[in-house]
Assembly symmetry: D2
Homo-oligomer: 356 residues x 4
């Protein structure tokens, strides 16, 4: 209801503010018998950490995850898994001057309108720091998917107008932007440098691919797999658009071109993005998201204060130039959460065995 | 869980197959005291009906909705509202030859993979006919929104590559494609005629605008208003992409351009699409969806049969050239359902009154 | 949220008022492949029908159930199953004099307080007629349970102070009160006749036993199997108490007596009622409910009208002397719904297979 | 789904094992603007703490609750409230001999059957320690209820066969058993002493009264207020029965006696326990639960080990003689959680204002 829980069977509830004591996640519905250690989760955490990647802010958080419950001898027991990540490097003071001002492009205005009160320090719950808990929970989902050989990988396919010209999976680990095209990545880094000097910020496109997903996942008609992916990805702060398979390009095409012919060996193309009528078809699942330029720009902006008087601000604090690349593991986490949930949901309603 | 229920407080469950007895919806959570008659719902039904609009199929369904419960003296009582629309013009015979074949771009393959059984007649539950129940339920949500002066309108902004050059709201009612640009609409109709001759089909773009929505709707972090809209719209069969406000265009821009300055009189622009940090900001809510060309093309296609042998098919039956314009009221319905649900959700967690 | 949906995986939504067009249920989450016909459901419907059983009212409803969706060739397809039962013998006129009066022991007062409006005819949604939809949905759940050889049977173990002295399962089908003690049943019938002459009504006790339930069902900590059974059974209008196994008797006993010793052959006793720590232990599940005397008595009662003026009423209409025996199939239905739901829920979170 | 979440709007998820790092609760859906400090919650925690009350175990837990999120300047912000209680005095060693043995009356057997793995130390998640998190969350619910002047109090009305002869609210705070009859309390203490010597344990009855609850709470038909209370209370480990108002006594009575006459000044009696047709009627809400003798008895018991061989055990560790009185604040917490949830739910579906 209040929006901090995700999933039906594999169910995650996150909590915590940017400048509070900690952020965390509780997973209810993880099957028992899964091997799980804090180190396994930490691997995903480390990819999201502030201070890694060329567009990153200088805030230094160790982002050390602890498992507080649900594990016995490095194995899940079927009881709730509580994960906690303490906040260490919060500089709340640097937000004092924002107590009275609404930052453009941020949730300051809407949080106050909705709740009548807001924790202005670092964006409170609206901060990207909240996604640390998503990544932690997503790492557990990823472990579950790996038991079924399902792999989820996200990559930067455009940044600041520079588009990746290829999908070379080997390149993803070779540059700081998780870009499947090392040459494009170099241009993107150049673009970031330039824009940083201009006190501005950049958006981009992230593509997420899930490989090895069996046919049959997704629950028509409202919880179709593409619908759930869209909702999950759009719930990430910086995301303003989601498309599946041929996506927006399909809108301008014809049926004869967009349909994927079916051969005895499988689908001849993948315009569907691996999803037909909301159900996975066994092909790669492909989603793409539009990431807006992060709104915390160093340049001067026009806004109002609590008294609705016009003021100008320059945003200090420690901020990234782009949500990319730190959003990459967050996108992966959300897709992992959706797939793990649907994998388990499908088990619940498997076909009744025939009885004589 | 199984996916046929939508919403948390204003909660709709739909049921029914294309060629079954009927389709229907049950609404649980509609507040009492709302004036409601079958005629009010019928207005929306009539806009979705087969046989209206230039791209429409010749299937003739009266789509007459009946209210079976939840109403006393034309007023909602707070108990479940059961809506039923009987199927009248189902020609199941014409689907007999599809019993053994998977149509490309359809759910035939995935439904069988998922359930191990499928009602092949007219697509069964995967048919666009299912959306009749959505429109009926959406019409009730619309009545609720109108009590708060919230209006939802969808329009065709591109079809077959032809893009509407303006947003003239008066035009929407003046052409069969609900296009806010009469000239573009004429070109679109022309395009449809041509493609029909080519035995092909077309996709397009639909924009949905909600006016009068108060600030404060949306539940961070997973049930953000944009996340819920994205999931709701992507759950419509033909939709392959969703964007909010500046959407995919934002990905290529900069923060200084994409941020909406705040003035004492309101937001200076609306790149946010009326949603900041997942919460409505009081501005118009603007979403856009990519509608794929409908997959039932008359031309020959390559596919396989149940024995996984290669076959070719030409799809008969009665089909539209484009999901547009019949998808227009469906898009409106989904947005109405999301907004009505969040309007009620917000009431539940309104601020605690200060006590001395 | 609004309360008309039951279950998590096997999910039922009911609708309909006593004197409306129909009552019905939609089941979402029934696995595909289950053999199901209207006749199978009708068997349970017929046991609940008005006019059967010694304590029954003279209202004659055929209670003919129709399946509107979710079935193909007498087999469930995994899509929603819509069930409808039309109301035929509603005499709304006889309720006209109750429009202005609150009947003691009924929901008249509370429905008006809650909703600000009420359908006074026959109790509207608060009528026992609502349970027809529960029995229909429960019959589908029962079919699912039978695939796993789980059987649910309810019986009258006390009525009007007369207590069944034995649990002879063969007797249950031999008397109109579903009593496992034919001699007690005869005394109960005698008691009913007497109380009918006194214009009064009677309560009693119903025991429900589920046989063949595997160990492992129930979801700690809030959705324990006993918690869900208690909630399900207490949701039946006339029920004012629920106990599991030794129940209230346990409160006065000692641990050494109440614990069930465990032998290599199984539990030596069943004070637990087949549930330990909220999870089924493989033994018979045993629940007992207290059924209050139905409040529609023919004798004079003191109450108030809408203007809060004191008035006296004698309730006309067609009413039973006791909710027993018609409540028997309703109790079975609710237990079937709980067990079917938990059977499927357990499948979703089954242990992860060990991988090398 | 997996059972560790309670409530719809005021939604609590608990986690943690008896001998793990900590137990905790996350509340999602608490309205903003509520004054809340850790000290306020601690008051309820202190009443549940081990080592208080005559029947208590010698385990000494400070049960210090911390608030990790959702609060800004001692006020709720509408974001999730994360509560944590670290385990300090866990003696896991003393459970080593139970690794291979199923304790009668405990969840050892069923947890292993369900999950295939169990944390045997101190009962893991099945331990009464889990209720610490319920009490913490319930304390927040209680704060919310107090804003509407709703008060919830539980009391011991029977223990070991000794029944409280009166309901003197002043007495509740005057004896360690929270008994509304000081004389009965003295006898109960005497009985506890005796049974402790006999290495046995005792059950009893707890009555919970909610005062000041407005008419209109409860969601027919499955989420009736009495159904939700029954489910909530039965979810407490030791509870084997729940009754509302006249409860089981009603089963033996007649309608003329059990109906509560309505006077212009209110209900003349309260056999309904404040709930009619599942909706609160404005009178005191009265529920009673049967608490079984705690199964950890010091005397010798017959059971089996993991190899299903017969063995005998005497249970060591540190255990109470009765779940009473420590269960008292737990019962209050569950009732507070139900009422807070329904208070908020009712706000969501309040009557639509009439428009001209």
């Amino acid at each position: 209801m209040a929006g901090n829980t995700f999933g039906q069977v594999f169910r995650v509830t996150t909590w915590g503010e940017s400048h509070g004591t900690a952020v965390g996640a509780t997973i209810d519905g993880c099957p028992p018998g899964l091997t799980l250690t804090a180190e396994m989760i930490q691997q995903d955490m480390d990819r999201r950490r502030p201070g890694t990647g060329g567009a990153a802010s200088p805030r230094k958080e160790p982002d050390k995850v602890e498992i507080l419950s649900g594990i016995y001898q490095d194995t899940t027991t079927g009881t709730p898994i509580s994960l906690i990540i303490y906040n260490k490097d919060a500089h709340s003071k640097s937000y004092d001057h924002l107590r009275e001002i609404f930052r453009p492009g941020h949730g300051d205005f809407t949080y106050l309108k909705k709740y009548g009160i807001r924790d202005h320090r670092g964006g409170g719950r609206a901060s990207a720091r909240e996604t640390a808990a998503r990544v932690a929970a997503g790492a557990v989902a990823r472990r579950l998917l790996l038991c079924d050989n399902i792999k989820v990988v996200a990559m930067t396919v455009a940044l600041g107008g520079i588009v990746a010209g290829q999908r070379n999976m080997a390149h993803i680990a070779e540059n700081r932007l998780f870009c499947p095209d090392n040459e494009a990545a170099a241009l993107m880094e150049e673009r970031i440098r330039k824009v940083r000097e201009q006190h501005d910020t950049l958006g981009g496109l992230v593509e997420i691919i899930a490989q090895g997903c069996p046919a049959g996942l997704g629950e028509p008609v409202f919880n179709k797999l593409d619908a759930e992916l869209a909702g999950a990805l759009m719930s990430i702060g910086a995301v303003k658009g989601v498309e599946i398979g041929s996506g927006f390009a399909a809108a301008a095409g014809t049926g004869s071109k967009n349909n994927d012919p079916i051969l005895p060996t499988g689908f001849a193309s993948n315009n569907s993005g691996g999803i037909l009528a909301g159900i996975s078809n066994g092909d790669d699942i492909v989603a793409r998201v539009a990431v807006k330029p992060i709104p915390s720009i160093a340049g001067e902006q026009q806004t109002v204060n609590l008294a609705n008087e016009p003021v100008t601000i320059k945003i200090g604090g420690r901020h990234d130039i782009s949500a990319i690349p730190r959003i990459i593991p967050v996108c992966e986490a959300m897709v992992c959460l959706v797939l793990a949930d649907h994998l388990l949901r499908q088990r619940a309603i498997q076909q009744v065995p025939k009885r004589s």
